[in-house]
Symmetry: C2
């Protein structure tokens, strides 16, 4: 299998650890992007199970099976020594199944997001926005409750398609639509929080697509509410856990890191849109068949 | 299997024909709605293959297999004597496979849409808006070309989520977002048409979700361009073909018609959103397992 070496001249130590990053689609590339900047001396293998998305509309059992197959591919065939589940649905519904399927440490996106919210909140009241599937799982509310926080969750189904359309420039006519959609969603959420007697001071972005809207959230969120990006929070936690692994170079530049990207379908869309999420070219994406 | 009889008092002749209507999701209920009004004396069985949507991101071979399984369910288990494929992707990629799988007449949504465009157009230049998957199949462009029309297609990926969010009231703040999104899409499309030297006088709505945005299109489309709804066009063609079937009552009211709805997953979402598409209650939706 050919490797996508973004800058072949750059030498990564042969024994550098490989970090496996998994998502049902390619939104999880925002988590990989945050990881690259923290661990430029690691190697990365990213798998998007694009043939079987969206996970959100499938049963827990089916999601667990798909996620376990994907995790095994990254560990057994790509030699990943650490797995980051950069997918909210799989983190919410299949983390145990993934941990059972492989023998390396596994980190999801939900616990780090909730931990970051706890660190940032004074009032203990937290707002979470995410996809419909993530909200229906109530995984963030559960993780927040476990940390002594009260969380109010809201599904914002228009935000993923707005990001995938590329309507993410705040100064454009299209960006004005995105601003207005975010204003409507946040207005509804803050009204609900007020009706429930909450005084939130943190907004958690609970979807891997949302980091591309960070500027919009900063502009639209009311004063006194801090925006927490669960992709960033996950990368921070992961890098703390990964840094002790042997062979990790201590220096390097994110754009020189060795990244191999795999998808189970729709390689074209992945290559076309992925760079926007990764913040640098994704290179050639390899098609893999997980036998689903 | 229990039947959802919307008004049990009403008598449909025992030998009234059953019309099977199939979609990957529940958007095709807009086609069923248009059929009900034309054929109130028929019985209807609707199947949404919600467990395996979206079809748009899958290969032709996989879509053909899923659609053939769904068609066999409607014909063999629900005794459908006529099939309407109320799904643009399946119509574009699997109509032959469905026709091979069953022995009853099968009608897709694309040919009727193209025929209606030919009947309405003076210039022979036609605009088509649809989902990304339908546009990538170029099925409308092909059907239009076969009728001597020139067609320019545009994917409008935000419209389905806007409909599913219910942002469809033009007088609301949310409706203002939908208006603006449609204005942007139509502006881009008309600019492309002009650059290509086309003088379009017809806009085909090539997605089963779009009839819920009909008022918006009427308001935003430039003067001199007529809006053609492929759901309506399909229902018109279907009713012409179905009317000769024996046992069809000549009278009745759409809201009294016998409808059975089936889905392969997400029955809750189907029940919650389906009525908006059907224009009347969908009743209880039965979960079926097609063994996929």
């Amino acid at each position: 299998m050919k490797e996508t070496v973004l800058q072949p001249g750059r030498r990564i130590p042969a024994n550098a650890p490989t970090i496996g990053v998994f998502d049902s689609g390619f939104g999880g590339l925002t988590v990989l992007r945050a990881l690259l900047h923290r661990l430029p001396g690691a190697k990365f293998a990213f798998l998007g199970d694009t043939a079987r998305l969206p996970y959100g509309s499938k049963s827990r059992r089916t999601i667990a099976r798909y996620a376990a197959e994907s995790a095994r591919f990254l560990v057994n065939e790509q030699n990943a020594q650490f797995l980051v589940i950069a997918c909210n649905t799989a983190s919410a519904l299949a983390l145990d199944a993934i941990q059972d399927a492989v023998s390396v440490p596994v980190l999801g996106v939900i616990e780090p997001g909730a931990e970051a919210a706890r660190a940032a909140s004074q009032t203990g009241d937290v707002l979470v926005i995410a996809t419909d599937a993530t909200v229906q799982s109530h995984a963030y509310a559960g993780a927040c409750r476990g940390l002594g926080l009260r969380a109010l969750e809201k599904a914002c189904p228009l935000l993923v398609p707005l990001v995938e359309e590329g309507w993410v420039d705040p100064s454009s006519t299209m960006g004005a639509v995105t601003s207005q959609v975010i204003r409507i969603y946040l207005g509804e959420l803050i009204e609900q929080a007020s009706a429930a007697g909450l005084t939130p001071d943190v907004l958690v972005l609970g979807c891997t697509h949302y980091p591309l809207l960070h500027t919009f959230f900063q502009a639209e969120v009311p004063a006194g509410i801090r925006v927490i990006d669960s992709a960033q929070a996950t990368a921070e936690t992961a890098s703390r856990l990964i840094e002790p692994l042997p062979g990790l170079a201590r220096e390097g530049r994110a754009e020189n890191t060795l990244i191999r990207c795999f998808a189970t379908d729709s390689v074209d869309k992945f290559e076309r849109l992925g760079s926007r999420f990764l913040g640098q070219p994704v290179g050639r994406v390899q098609l893999v068949d997980l036998g689903g």
